[in-house]
């Protein structure tokens, strides 16, 4: 007859300590992730649901904007780009007949060219000025993808053959 109580240590291995440590660690990770989501929301979505102001909007709100830093969007007017040692100077046009004269510092992106939409980070010189000083140029390309045909001949009427 074996005395189970005396001969065998039947008390189970005690896993809860490790388990609760693991759970605490996982909860900690979740809390860090929640904090990350809040940070991303505050950095991205809440502060800039609209990433930029168009030329028309910015000129309309110029008085209230003053010299506050903003992102300005418009299309680069052909024939206005002047490359400078510091960066580039050009004119941005809006949907109407509105123009903003931009002087931007830093090298423009690879795709920067005439007739392309860009977003410039910077500020107006004053609350009444149409001159804008930029610190960064970003190209906002369209969602259209068209094959380049360098060998095509352009007819006098503008069509390509």
């Amino acid at each position: 007859m074996v005395d189970l109580e005396a001969s065998a240590p039947l008390s189970p291995i005690d896993p809860p300590a490790a388990k609760s440590r693991s759970s605490r660690r996982s909860i900690g990770v979740i809390l860090v992730l929640i904090a990350l989501v809040v940070l991303l929301l505050s950095q991205g979505l809440l502060s800039s649901l609209n990433y930029f102001e168009t030329v028309d909007q910015a000129l309309a709100q110029r008085g209230s904007l003053g010299t506050k830093v903003l992102r300005l969007e418009g299309v680069v007017e052909p024939g206005t780009i002047v490359r400078t040692n510091a960066g580039a100077a050009f004119t941005l046009t809006g949907s109407g007949d509105h123009h903003v004269f931009v002087t931007a510092h830093g090298s423009p992106p690879q795709l920067f060219q005439a007739n392309i939409p860009v977003v410039v980070v910077g500020h107006f010189v004053s609350s009444t000025s149409a001159y804008f000083v930029g610190s960064q140029i970003m190209v906002k390309h369209t969602s259209s993808y068209i094959a380049a045909h360098p060998n095509r001949v352009r007819a006098p009427n503008g069509t390509s053959r």
């Binding site: 039947l10 991205g44 990433y51 969007e73 992106p109 690879q110 993808y145 094959a147």
Partner: protein, 238 residues
Amino acid sequence: MIKLSQRLLGPVTLVSLALTFWLGLWVTPPDVVQGDLVRLLYVHPPIAWVALYVSFGTATIASCLYLWPRTRSDVMDRVAYCAMEISVVFIALTLITGSIWGRPTWGVWWAWDARLTSTAILGVFALAYLALRRANDDPAVRARRSGVFAILTAINVPIIHFSVQWWKTLHQGASVLTSNGTLNVHGSMLWTMLLGFIGFTLLFFWLLRYRYRLEVKRDFVVATTVDEALALRRREGV
């Protein structure tokens, strides 16, 4: 038939991806504005498609099926878990390929616009899902909690999709799934991109298949180990 399709999944995936890369790198023409940078079109949108709609969608649907009492099974829970794990990889690839494309085109690696930020948040949600699964050892509780979490976080997917329409973003609008149904990609570029969509979708299902098998084996090993440990304790006790 099912076995044949399972056998063919790997080779068909490989062929479609190889064809996408060949067409994308050597056959398709450069873009009129972006030049050769457009070749990322055959990689980035298909990867984003898999990250957002295919893998996160599979995880959400499988979670719904698990939570619905009539269709509740361990299979659905495993599918949801495996799909979410693959989703993390594809979301990371979406952000990486997007950054690589954004630097020469936009001029910046990252922009805090609504599309990019909401995609990053989806990545954090997917990581949180995986962390949540580790927070509880009870399989039923774990499956229920993570299922609810997956469904709640899936609300972010339509926000990401429509962000470029709802708000002004640096990220361009849709090229294929446009609101008016027009296609903004032309000729061979379109077909190559669509082939990329097929190739990466097949890659997801191929990965899911093998990840699911691994999960079944892992569950078996865990169950066997526990059973063996209990048997050992009983033997020691007698």
